[in-house]
Symmetry: C2
Subunit: 182 residues, 2 copies
């Protein structure tokens, strides 16, 4: 999916051109798109592949989230506050991305209905994902969270290493291996 | 703060009238605005007071979040998916609210730049809050989370009962009492 297709899927009658430019970018597994301490200046749309965001905690890296094709990813707190990023965005596998420069988006937000519709809908989806994840962390056991992920993203469970999946689900790798066997 | 003032604070040159109506509503402590199993049809703007959202887990109520004046609150997953709400929104203390009917907002979203700017900015803030909370849960100890809340919202720490604050911070009430004494 491209940004243009995303727009066509979620916004009726969006016939006009996109009110900002996008740059196609191939990035191979392990590429760091935004690093700790960097000022974020872009929003990434994932045409294919998987990105992940991580956080440093006492020198140890923790996985905040995985991001999949057809969604946007950025260090939003850096973008919106102009503080340096406290997260890192990396390619979990080879990715095909579309990059939007925030400065162009910010200008478009001042006058463009389409830019704001797109920004609103993309942010609603991001927000929605966070709320779902938080609810799952509050109410489901590790086993149920694994089952839920398996139902929603079976191909993902194949692509992500047990040690990373366990960081994401908030369980120890040994527990996850046990859950997988059952 | 009113919705109009929120708009003036965050959107430059927003001189036109709001593209939807708002209804002023007083709601006393304990009032349930949206309940489990109900279809959400409104967005609440908090002029003054505190709302809280909760979730049922095995018959037990868990506090998802507190929401403070100058921000929007709704059962967004119900609003956006048209599924019934899995959360409850209640008044933690007496509240002065402005209610926006989602149907009016949805229609405004089709054509109004201002409605989409407002929707985008309000959702960015909600998203941002969730991300901050999630990062704190991943990286701070209970004591540090309490300290962070005390710095950000000292008046809140006074207004919220220890048992509720402990549910919010994800610690046991006894631990929180100990932290408070230190």
């Amino acid at each position: 999916m491209t940004v243009r297709e995303f727009v066509n899927t979620f916004i009726d009658n969006a016939a006009e051109n996109l009110p900002f430019s996008t740059i196609e970018k191939k990035a191979s597994k392990g590429t760091i798109l935004t690093d700790y301490g960097q000022l974020e200046d872009s929003v990434y749309f994932i045409q294919s592949g998987i990105l992940y965001t991580s956080l440093l905690y006492k020198e140890e890296e923790r996985i905040l989230d995985f991001h999949f094709e057809g969604s946007f990813c950025s260090s939003y707190s850096s973008l919106l506050s102009s503080d340096v990023s406290d997260i890192r965005i990396s390619c979990y596998i080879d990715c095909q991305l579309e990059v939007v420069k925030y400065e162009e988006l910010r200008v478009a937000y001042e006058t463009s209905l389409l830019a704001n519709q797109l920004g609103r809908i993309a942010t609603e989806q991001l927000f929605f994902e966070r709320v779902k994840r938080e609810k799952e962390l509050l109410t489901l056991t590790a086993e149920e969270r694994y089952q839920s992920l398996l139902n929603k993203k079976p191909e993902l469970v194949q692509k992500i290493a047990i040690k990373d999946l366990s960081k994401y689900l908030g369980v120890r790798p040994e527990s996850l291996s046990r859950i997988r066997r059952n």
